[in-house]
Amino acid sequence: MNLRPVLHLISIMLAVLGLAIGLCAGIAWLYADPWQARIGMLAASGIVLATGILLFVLTRGPVDLSRRDGFGIVTFGWLAAAILGSLPFMLTGVITDPAAALFETMSGFTTTGASVLSDLEAVPRGVMFWRAMTHFFGGMGVLVLCVAILPFLGVGGMQIYRAEMPGPSKDRLTPRIATTAKLLWGVYVFLCVAEAALLRLGGMDWFDAFCHAFATMATGGFSTRTASVAAYNSAYIESVIIVFMFLAGTNFALNYRALLGRPLCYFRDPEFRFYLGAWLTATVVIILNIYRTVYPSFGQAVRAAFFQSTSIMTTTGFCTEDFDLWPGGSKVILVLLMFIGGCAGSTGGGMKNIRVLVVLKKVVREITLFMQPQAVVKVKIGREPVPQEVISHISAFFILFVLVFAGGSLVMTLFTPDLQTAVTSVIATLGNIGPGLGGVGAVQNYSAIPTGGKLFLTLFMLLGRLELYTVLIVLLPGFWKK
């Protein structure tokens, strides 16, 4: 890895974040936050910006990035963002424990939405807005934003794009990666603004509307209320959020084409059809499971099931109901949805629908071969056969994901005695969902997890957001060799 160009790009990203914190300091002034919050935000903005500028000056020179550097930039860029991005929490005194502040920031950037804060109404507005902004930057990828705005990256931009964008195949809208990044960010910002406007119509103020729009479109899940979306108790707001969560979990290349006036392209995409099918099936089963057992009214069951299944499957993690009180069947379905997650090229987490689909088709193929050893069966997505390397790559990812999950669950039992809490906290962070079950359930938060556990889960959020390989490659000794 070439350290200088890697640090150079990270410095640009830090400068962008510094400016964003400055914006939040402005919000702190606007909403007349306590002085400690205003000064703290300003100081944090100054420190991050100064670090960025200093590093920028120290590492000037030509930027020529190899594939390896792309992985380095993304992994270390995200670590730096999480560490420096936690300053606003600490300097304003909102979160005093550094491990907890790091957890909260990483949770924001990776769009996990797991929180350590138990009283959100008491958090100053400026800090709250920064918390929502971390979602906004992390959702489409802060480094992809850099690729979009920096003209000089060229092939290097592609390395970054590849390392940061989720999904096995990177859909390109245009030949130039910078143009693609611009378009995707454009769609993302457009949908954020559209959702904020619709939420405003539903009675939220602009502040809450934007915070929730950021949290939805990034599939994050940080709410401005302790009770999450349940606090508004509005069917309209919940429907708006359901629609936008679903769009956020869809491939943004499809959203782009749909916005250009080709809405049918959604249904031509095999991954989208699978995503839609899995989502509807899960929701219907949950409705049947919770109607009468938990909710006496059918309407209430439908509303609760739709909101919760969308929120969990897209890995957003908003809550309107305490699904910890639901019957076991519904809980298992929700946990399974956590594994599936969103689509490739979306802001959602999890394993991604396309990978699950390929693995399932591969299994079907093997079973067919047991019965018909002479059969020539290809794994096809839509009408296109999937190349053998892609299948083996996806299978390896699937296995790795399960192994990391299993190993993580084992380690988490060291920090929390409850099996359900340990296991679901791992998948809720690895899949970037947020709430799990038991001690980290819908109405709980992560403040009770010991410091070691918090740091461990912080790593898992990063692993999940960057889809394992990007982070694991950096841990290999070969990565550091010239």
Binding site: G154, M158, P175, R176, I177, T179
Partner: protein
């Protein structure tokens, strides 16, 4: 500009890389998934899998959005069909590579009507250049400009060369002192008007010659530098020189004291290019030997060649090479379809003492490695002449054509000084050049003028400007209206 390239072979890859570096939007179509994956990992481009002659594949590659289609697969049929489809889809410019020479010459096909704007053939252009090199010992590369009126030649500094006797400025002073008619040489940035009689004393002839020669760029190892007046040269430096075609042999005589013609030219490889070259050598009465591995093909070659000795044998066989006459007075050209064999046989010829060894290498990846070996005099990559033909379409309207040099970074841009251009009416020494650009030659009406400092640029002049890659954009904008 959005450019669609059909075919991700050597030519397609080379083009995609060059065009991508020039910040064009490049889409590559090929049938081979692996080739595409490799290309996509290296370049910032979009790839589409499928046959380039199939309309649905072209549709997927968003043909209608393209400004230029370049079809460079190995199949003439696919290339032509892709161009025809593109023309129908409204793509303004199309270029097709043609392998079969009969297709180029046939009166049955009207390409303009079919919608193919440009046909490029690697064989024809490569044969022309190789012929030039074999005819003029010492010449390593020739680039013709302005419809054959001007020439950029690559030469190498060898022991005994007069260029080793001092800086360029020293040289011109020395010649001028000996001659006392012209005080400066072409290399310096300005000089007095010169009206030297054609029949001058020997030294005067040299000074006169030097006044008409422009040193464009030089290379030491892989590093290029601009040969200014204070430049000193070393043995092994490569020089690109703008020289009038009529002056070429005199310049080479000066450059290489004691130069004499090759006793024999040995060509390894009797394919289309080899046969073409051998026939050209026959018409110019230059003795040649053609080595061909395949007996049947050797027979075919023998049918059409009348003076050339055709040998059936392998160029990697030392005995065969000695038999063919490869030795200290022989030029050796390896142009078989097997690149590795070309390189090895050239190394063998070098060992046998051949003063000129030329290898055909299509894989762009090999070229820097071969250069670092330092054994071969010249590597011919057949794509370069083709890319030069294509560059013309990419550079846009205000630049007539552009040419890449083989070895040195930079481009030769062919521009026209339009009415009211800010350069018109100014002497060259008074021009503000973008970056490190250099005027290589000036065409006024039908005559070439040597761009000395006192020459005044006039409206309607055609200039060839040498620009380093970083300055190309600035030259372009200078000549944009």
């Amino acid at each position: 500009m959005r450019i669609l390239i059909i075919g991700a072979g050597n030519a397609g890859r080379h083009l995609a890389g060059k065009l991508c570096d020039m910040s064009h939007e490049v889409v590559v179509v090929d049938r081979d998934q692996e080739r595409l994956a490799l290309l996509e990992a290296q370049l910032d481009i979009l790839t589409v899998r499928g046959s380039g002659s199939s309309p649905d594949v072209l549709e997927r590659a968003e043909l209608a959005k393209a400004n230029l289609l370049i079809a460079v697969t190995n199949s003439d049929e696919v290339n032509l069909l892709a161009c025809i489809c593109a023309h129908e889809a409204g793509v303004p410019n199309t270029v097709a590579r043609i392998v079969n020479p009969a297709l180029m010459e046939s009166p049955l096909l009207d390409y303009k009507r079919l919608g193919v704007d440009c046909l490029v053939s690697q064989n024809q252009e490569a044969a022309d250049e190789l012929f030039e090199i074999l005819k003029n010992p010492g010449l390593l590369e020739s680039v013709w400009l302005l419809d054959g009126r001007a020439l950029i030649a690559r030469v190498q500094v060898r022991p005994g060369s007069p260029l080793l006797n001092g800086t360029l400025a020293d040289l011109s002073v020395a010649h001028a002192a000996a001659d006392e008619t012209t005080p400066d040489s072409g290399a310096a940035s300005s000089s007095e008007p010169r009206q030297v009689p054609a029949e001058a004393a020997p030294h005067g002839a040299v000074a006169n010659l030097m006044a008409r020669v422009r040193f464009i760029t030089a290379l030491r190892g892989d590093v290029s530098f601009l040969p200014r007046g204070d430049a000193r040269f070393e043995v092994g430096d490569d020089l690109y020189v703008a020289v009038l075609p009529g002056d070429l042999s005199r310049f080479l005589d000066w450059m290489y004291p004691g130069r004499h013609a090759f006793g024999k030219s040995v060509i390894a490889g009797g394919g289309g290019l080899g046969l073409n070259l051998a026939r050209r050598l026959e018409t110019a009465s230059i003795p040649a030997v053609l080595l061909e591995r395949d007996a049947a093909r050797a027979g075919e070659c023998s049918d059409v060649l009348h003076k050339t000795l055709v040998l059936n044998g392998d160029a990697s066989d030392q005995e065969m090479m000695v038999n063919a006459g490869v030795g200290p007075n022989t030029a050796f050209v390896a142009i078989t379809g097997d690149e590795e064999l070309n390189i090895i046989s050239c190394m063998l010829a070098h060992k046998l003492g051949a003063p000129l060894t030329v290898a055909l290498v299509s894989k762009p990846e090999y070229v820097p490695v071969i250069r670092s070996l330092g054994l071969l005099s010249r590597v011919v990559s057949p794509h370069l002449s083709m890319t030069n033909a294509i560059l013309h379409y990419v550079r846009g309207k205000h630049i007539r054509a552009a040419t890449w040099l083989h070895k040195a970074p930079g481009e030769l841009l062919h521009v026209v000084v339009r009415e009211g251009h800010r350069w018109a009416g100014k002497p060259i020494s008074g021009l503000k050049m973008p970056g490190e650009c250099l005027i290589a030659t000036v065409l006024r009406g039908d005559t070439i003028h040597v761009p000395t400092g006192d020459l005044t640029v006039e409206e309607g002049d055609q200039l060839v400007i040498f620009a380093l890659p970083a300055d190309v954009g600035r030259v372009q904008s200078l000549f944009k209206r």
